[in-house]
């Protein structure tokens, strides 16, 4: 366990600058957008007040977040792309360079599946750290909004309302339903394991391994996608369909981890 945790830390440490850069980029773009949009709104209100025009209602933090759909989506999409590429790079960087890091990694006095799990855990830490950072940013941005907008123009809103007003948050990143969060990120975790095993297939069998990896991803993708879109409501009750889905996910997960551990322990060469 201790060795596994040390390996997790090693992987987190290696990606720390990239992670902090993503956080900085997210903060910079979102704060800039928020400040600009809020200033425009406040200016508009002041102008309306000066001309004696009556606006229908004050505006809230949720309104401003709703206005910033595209600007908020940009850093999130960039982060998704970077982390998506790093799912591959976290393995391949160990083989790249003059002094291959993989030599040292696979000769450590620990079971090799710890390497596999540590790399996966590191990816999950990065993803959830970015999501958590987004939540912290929203708290900070709400405070910033309250400082910038005079109370006579401001309407209070719930934190969940601000999250719900942005489609990227509510549909993908931070669904308000806890079970939805678990299901979405659970499928994401499963997808990471499938890609890891695909990388190991390629690393184990090289050129033919690419074909195996593509086939493996296609089969697992079809199984996961089939489970997601399982539409047998004409015969099954919803809870039964949920049980079938979970069985499919567990089977894919079990097979993927078994194959991944076997490849990393017995097949992989540097």
């Amino acid at each position: 366990m201790n060795r596994y945790l040390k390996l997790v830390h090693l992987e987190v440490h290696r990606f720390r600058y990239a992670l902090f850069s993503l956080m900085f980029l997210t903060a910079a773009i979102q704060i800039t957008g928020l400040v600009h949009t809020t200033q425009v709104r406040v200016k508009g209100w002041r102008e309306a007040a000066r001309l004696g025009e009556h606006s229908t209602r004050n505006f809230s933090f949720a309104d401003v977040i709703g206005d910033l759909q595209f600007l908020f989506a940009i850093p999130i999409l960039i982060s998704i792309v970077v982390l998506g590429l790093y799912v591959f790079l976290i393995w391949y960087r160990d083989w790249i360079g003059r002094d291959k890091f993989a030599y040292r990694l696979f000769t450590l006095p620990t079971v090799r599946r710890n390497v596999y799990m540590a790399k996966a855990t590191a990816i999950f830490v990065f993803v959830f750290a970015m999501v958590s950072f987004q939540l912290l940013m929203l708290l900070l941005e709400r405070q910033l909004f309250n400082w910038m907008v005079p109370s006579e123009y401001r309407m209070s809103s719930l934190f969940a309302e601000a999250v719900a007003s942005n489609l990227v948050f509510v549909r993908f990143l931070l669904p308000l339903d806890g079970i939805q969060f678990v299901v979405y990120y659970g499928i994401g975790i499963l997808a990471v394991f499938v890609l890891f095993t695909a990388v190991l297939l390629e690393r184990s069998y090289r050129l033919p391994g690419i074909v195996y990896a593509i086939l493996y991803v296609a089969v697992c993708g079809a199984a996961i996608g089939g489970a997601v879109y399982l539409n047998l409501y004409n015969y099954f009750y919803p809870r039964e369909i949920t049980a079938i889905r979970f069985c499919i996910y567990l089977m894919v997960m079990g097979f993927t981890l078994t194959l991944g551990f076997r490849l990393v322990s017995k097949k992989i060469t540097v």
């Binding site: 719930l158 007003s165 806890g178």
Partner: protein, 418 residues
């Protein structure tokens, strides 16, 4: 430990922020409402639910309010994934809740409310579907399937029958049992020739089709006219009823080359009410009840219902609702009941329903968008029109919403649990 600071800090950040968010921050709370009594007995409104939207703040969220309080009425992801009941569970007829509970196997995959029949011995579900032929020149096939559950033994059997025909679609309207016969009243829609109603009769013991009856409801008197058939079947989906009613309206034919909006409203020439007896196959014309001829007066409409032997018509306008009830087995006409909106203080009638000996009224008290006015609901006795309850939804808990958003709810519909 200092060495592991970054990893530890990230994990702490994840646990603290996601944990706090999903424990406290993710709930999109709306103000809570409750039906507040203006006068009368609150128990009279216990079956009533008002449906509407909360529009305070950003966005709009479906909400429902009853005597026990309010709740968001949209299907959440958790509900969709964890529900162990079928699609009819949320219907206003409570009998489906009981059917899911008592016969989950039989109810599996059964959609639609019109194909059910039950008595103390049997539970029946019938379905009719039309399959087009792969060759467009060939006729397709109408298929009937009848699932019958013996409530004493738990034995379930399926009967089927099919007919080659060329139609647009078919659907089951009513299922009844008369002696040893199962009657499946089926609507058959044909291209350019309106609807046909076919009573498919099956032997309840063997499942074999006995015969089919095309219910004779007349033909249009001229080529430029058509018949519109309104089916008035037993209101409670599974209840037994020996008859079904048809309101047949002869109107001008709607054509595709209309030039103005007024052309799309067909002229009505006659309305006739027929009664079809399942057991005998007899069709009898009934004297048209008062009020039905007013159906097309602008701003008013008439609703018809049949519950056991009682045929009820409810004529609604913004100012008043008038109920006529007839006992079809004796021919007795109950005293007409009229409730005027002016009796209820303020507002105009927007909806009314009759259920279990009560008249439920929903009155809108003003322009919602101007003054956020809450509606009034009223419950009256169907026998004499006496008002038994009047109430209005009122906020009882802010749930973190500012005071000026508490009345940002609009309730435009009501349902009655029967």
């Amino acid at each position: 430990m200092k060495r592991y600071m970054i990893t530890s800090a990230l994990i702490l950040l994840i646990l603290a922020s996601l944990g706090t968010f999903y424990a406290y921050g993710a709930e999109l709370r709306l103000p809570e409402y409750k039906l507040q009594t203006l006068e009368g007995d609150l128990a009279e409104a216990s079956k009533l639910t008002l449906l509407g939207s909360y529009v305070g703040g950003k966005g709009s969220y479906p909400i429902e309010v009853s005597t026990s309080g309010s709740k968001r009425s949209e299907q959440t992801f958790s509900n969709q994934w964890m529900k162990n009941k079928g699609p009819l569970h949320d219907q206003t007829f409570s009998e489906f809740k009981a059917l899911y509970k008592e016969h989950p196997g039989f109810m599996r995959g059964k959609m639609g409310t019109d194909g059910y029949y039950s008595d103390q011995d049997t539970l029946i579900f019938a379905k009719a579907s039309y399959t087009h032929s792969k060759d467009t020149d060939q006729e397709g096939t109408i298929r009937w399937s009848i699932d019958s559950l013996d409530l004493a033994t738990g034995k379930q059997v399926r009967y089927t029958d099919e007919l080659t025909d060329s139609v647009q679609y078919t659907n089951v309207i009513d299922v009844q049992k008369a002696g040893s016969e199962i009657h499946v009243l089926t609507n058959v829609n044909r291209v350019n020739s309106g609807n046909e109603l076919i009573d498919m009769v099956f032997n309840a013991e063997t499942g074999l089709p006995i015969h089919s009856v095309q219910v004779p409801l007349g033909k249009p008197s001229r080529n430029d006219r058509e018949l519109q058939i309104q089916i008035i079947a037993e209101k409670k989906p599974t209840a037994a009823n020996s008859r079904v009613l048809f309101l047949v309206t002869e109107s001008s034919k709607r054509t595709d080359n209309t030039v103005s909006a007024s052309d799309t409203i067909p002229t009505i020439f006659s309305e006739r009410l027929f009664e079809y007896q399942y057991a005998s196959g007899d069709v009898k014309e009934l004297p048209l009840v008062a009020g039905a001829e007013e159906e097309n007066r602008p701003g008013s409409w008439t609703l018809h219902s049949l519950e056991r032997a009682t045929y009820t018509t409810m004529h609604l306008s913004e100012e008043a609702v008038t109920i006529n009830r007839y006992d079809l087995s004796t021919g007795f006409a109950h005293p007409q009941v009229t409730i005027k909106a002016s009796q209820l203080g303020k507002g105009t009638i927007s909806q009314a329903q009759v259920a279990d000996g009560r008249i439920y009224l929903l009155l809108q008290t003003g322009d919602y968008f101007k003054n956020n006015s809450m509606p009034i609901i009223a419950v009256a006795d169907i026998t004499d029109g006496r008002i038994l309850y009047q109430g209005t939804p009122a906020p009882v808990k802010a749930n973190g919403r500012p005071d000026d958003q508490l009345d940002d709810a609009q309730f435009l519909n009501m349902t009655i649990m029967q």
